[in-house]
């Protein structure tokens, strides 16, 4: 057991002599060195085992700090803090608490939100929702007007009406909930909101995509509350206990999310509310009266699609009308894809307008060696020179080659187009970017051992035979087929691909050992180890962690810093503050990036 460190809080400031190399090393480990200096340190690390050891020790001792317990504030910390503020006491004491509902509460009025007084609602929205206050107030009035008495909101009526004393007691956190109440009007729960974030629903809306101010202008931040929200409080209190509980849960979950995620979802929520406010009364009723979340989503989906088709140019509409249902669906899908591509291209150009105008060669193409490495990666990854094995469609191949040719001939910012092309294609075909084994890859039935005969007939053959002779397509097709079988019918197969470090080809293994491994934290190594023996999952996990630690793995990832690729050529970039979670579809390509 080593001697425990001796406390010496008051030791003089420079207890150790300053070591410039150590300073650089620490800054390198913290990702604080400029690129050039970082490269120098990397070179030294590659050549100096002693320095590597020092770096490893620095990192590991720093990782140890993770074992220090993180304290949690005592239970009533927030309340105790707030109670020290006179203004807060004034709003929270019973004497100043929101008044009880002036109107009698009857079960039939338990809509999500009922605005009985449009004047006060209007003043509320002047503060928070200035740009579209009229629409919101309108939707509230419309919904109230349209639905009171209909008893259509079965989703809020399902629970027995609670005794008033139970539902009227407001919790501290209800302040925010009440403030947000108008936004929550047509939302069932967080899962419902996540579905609204799908590109076909609201995820592709410019308001969400381009991330302007949540409120349309910055005005909302300059205005000074204090607003009255007694009316909203009353409406909230008039909801059945089950709906109140659901709203609290929704609000809690929403605000427990990371900032980036929450901000993204709030934009979705706003877009949805705005959209809802612009619908006709009948359409609003149709959506809000749906029996459950799934039905509501379905109605929203149908309406969105209908609106989208109606917004197409007349000639497209005419053509669509002439098609059979199946062709119509296909055509709509294609048109939507085109629209989304155009939007992404435009957003990309806007982000790089300055460099493009100055005809600057972008990273990584300004570096001759890196440029060659990228082009070579494209050639191999997409199997451009292997007739019969090409991965790209004819259109993709043509576009890829023409952007490359244009970049090579004209240079300058033409490399932007090529960079974006190869970035997008490498994302699209990422499934196939897997390292081959050290020995012979599985590309024929004969490579599958005794199980081969099971795969050489009927359906198995039709699904796998087209990929014979191709790595890793054949192995993936075999795996895909096997996975469709019930567990007890699955034949035993030899390893289909490398699924341990020692099975990887040497250049790749070398980079992993030298560059990636030192950056992995103990629990990340564990997570990776859990995939050992599983192909292709192990390789995909490797790629995930490499991306996370900004290491490019040769042969299976674009050469050069993955983060720089994402930052420069990614089309949907989240706000700089955080890492989006896996449940947000538009961020899916960036999931594993820090």
């Amino acid at each position: 057991m080593p001697e425990p460190p001796q406390p010496g809080r008051n030791s003089p400031d420079p207890p150790l002599p300053v070591d410039p190399l150590e300073e650089e090393l620490v800054a390198y480990l913290d990702g604080e060195l400029p690129e050039e200096e970082a490269r120098l340190i990397e070179q030294r690390l590659a050549n100096d085992p002693d320095l590597r050891r020092r770096a490893l020790l620095l990192k590991k001792t720093y990782d140890l700090l993770d074992y220090l317990p993180q304290p949690v504030v005592s239970e009533n910390f927030t309340t105790r803090t707030l109670e020290k503020i006179p203004a807060w006491r004034a709003t929270a004491t019973p004497a100043n608490a929101p008044e009880a509902p002036a109107h009698p509460i009857v079960p039939s009025t338990s809509q999500p939100v009922l605005m009985t007084d449009t004047r006060s609602a209007s003043s509320y929205f002047t503060i928070r929702l200035a740009p579209w206050k009229i629409s919101i107030v309108l939707v509230l009035c419309l919904i109230c007007g349209a639905l009171s008495g209909y008893g259509l909101l079965s989703w809020t009526l399902s629970a027995p009406y609670p005794p008033p004393s139970a539902s009227q007691e407001l919790l501290l956190s209800d302040h925010r909930l009440i403030e947000m109440l108008p936004y929550y009007i047509g939302v069932d729960d967080l899962a419902f909101l996540l579905r609204l974030a799908e590109p076909e629903l609201f995820g592709d809306e410019p308001l969400v995509e381009n991330n302007p101010s949540r409120m349309g202008t910055s005005e909302a931040f300059e205005l000074s509350p204090p607003f009255k929200f007694e009316e909203l409080v009353r409406e909230f209190q008039s909801l059945p206990a089950s709906r109140q509980a659901a709203l609290r849960e929704f609000d809690r979950e929403l605000f427990a999310l990371e900032n980036t995620e929450r901000e993204y979802l709030l934009r979705i929520l706003e877009t949805y509310t705005l959209w809802l406010s612009r619908l006709s009364q009948d359409q609003q009723r149709e959506i809000l009266s749906a029996k459950n979340s799934a039905e509501r989503l379905q109605r929203i989906r149908e309406l969105r699609e209908h609106q989208w088709v109606e917004a197409l140019p007349p000639e497209h509409q005419k053509r669509l009308r002439s098609l059979s249902t199946q062709d119509r669906i296909e055509t709509i899908r294609r048109l939507k894809r085109q629209e989304s591509n155009r939007r992404e291209t435009w957003s990309f150009i806007r982000r790089h307008a300055e460099e493009i105008a100055a005809n600057r060669i972008p990273w990584p193409f300004h570096d001759e060696a890196l440029r060659q490495a990228v082009v070579e990666f494209g050639r191999q990854a997409f199997q451009l020179d292997e007739p019969g094995k090409e991965r790209l469609t004819a259109n993709e191949r043509q576009r890829y080659l023409s952007t490359l040719q244009a970049a090579e001939q004209t240079g300058g910012s033409a490399w932007f187009s090529y960079g974006r092309e190869i970035y997008n294609l490498s994302r699209k075909y990422e499934r196939f970017l897997l390292p081959p084994p050290q020995g012979k890859p599985v590309i024929e039935y004969a490579d599958l051992g005794p199980s081969a005969r099971l795969l050489e007939k009927d359906r198995a053959q039709s699904l796998t035979a087209p990929f014979r002779g191709r790595w890793p397509e054949f192995a993936l097709a075999v795996l895909d087929y096997i996975n469709t079988l019930p567990t007890h019918e699955r034949p035993k197969l030899p390893p289909l691909g490398p699924s341990r470090l020692e099975e990887l080809p040497q250049p790749l293994r070398h980079v992993i050992e030298r560059e990636l491994w030192p950056k992995l934290r103990p629990r990340e190594r564990e997570a990776l180890a859990a995939w050992e023996g599983k192909w292709p999952e192990y390789c995909r996990e490797l790629r995930k962690w490499a991306g996370f630690h900004d290491v490019s793995l040769p042969g299976i990832m674009l050469p050069g810093s993955p983060r720089r690729w994402d930052a420069l050529y990614g089309t949907r970039v989240p706000e700089p503050s955080g890492l989006p979670a896996s449940k947000f579809p538009p961020f899916a390509p960036l999931l594993n990036r820090k």
């Binding site: 317990p69 629990r523 190594r525």
Partner: protein, 219 residues
């Protein structure tokens, strides 16, 4: 770009700033949200700096009250958390100075609390790459050792390390919080890390003893 526009843009990007602007504008719900949003982070930093949980909680409360008292003077020039931790830094350093005048007995280390990231199990139980060598310390014991290692740092080194490690702050932000240059932070952290390495290297395992190569498969 006019200053007003810059601050607007910054506010739009940073939800914390937006929240603080609502606090500035006397939105009562906003302050409650702000406290809830930052209380655990603030407490963690203050606890690690002071080493005393009750004192840290009192101080965290004081930080929030100062934020509230100075809300009208708030202008979104930097990240909100930088502003918050600048206040925390000043109060923590004052508290440490006062403590030197009136020494107090430090208390807990292994109190119950969630671990930052690690599973709720004894380190000794793990047989993985995170397992420790012969020492096989229990995590409470390890926490004591780490606490003592942090105590060997001087106040500024400790604060810099804590902001860097637990708040994931970059050097520029730490510099702003502590009123130093980025270069000074760089050397502060370098000394602190070297000292931590000196104190803690006996508690970690580098594969192959003095060998320079690490074998990822075994580490």
């Amino acid at each position: 770009m006019p200053a007003g526009q810059t601050s607007n843009l910054m506010a739009l990007r940073d939800p914390d700033i937006r929240l603080m602007l609502r606090v500035r504008d006397d939105d009562p719900a906003a302050f409650a949200e702000l406290v809830q949003r930052f209380q655990h982070r603030l407490l963690a930093v203050l606890h690690h700096v002071l080493g005393d949980r009750d004192e840290a909680e009192d101080l965290a409360q004081e930080v929030f009250l100062r934020v509230y008292r100075h809300r009208k003077r708030y202008s979104p020039k930097a990240k909100f958390s930088t502003w918050l931790f600048t206040i925390a830094n000043n109060l923590a350093l004052n508290a440490l100075r006062n403590r030197k005048r009136r020494p107090v007995q430090r208390l807990e280390i292994s109190e119950s609390g969630t671990l930052a990231h690690e599973p709720q199990q004894s380190i000794a139980d793990t047989h993985s790459s995170t397992a420790f060598p012969a020492q096989r310390l229990h995590r409470e014991e390890l926490a004591v050792v780490i606490r003592q290692a942090l105590d060997t740092l001087n106040e500024r080194q400790r604060l810099a390390i804590i902001l860097n490690k637990y708040e994931d702050m970059n050097y520029a932000d730490i510099a702003q919080v502590m009123g130093l240059t980025t270069k000074a932070v760089k050397s502060l952290l370098s000394r602190a890390r070297a000292k931590l390495r000196e104190c803690l290297q006996g508690y970690i395992e580098i594969e192959g003893g003095n060998s320079s190569e690490s074998d990822p498969e075994k580490s």
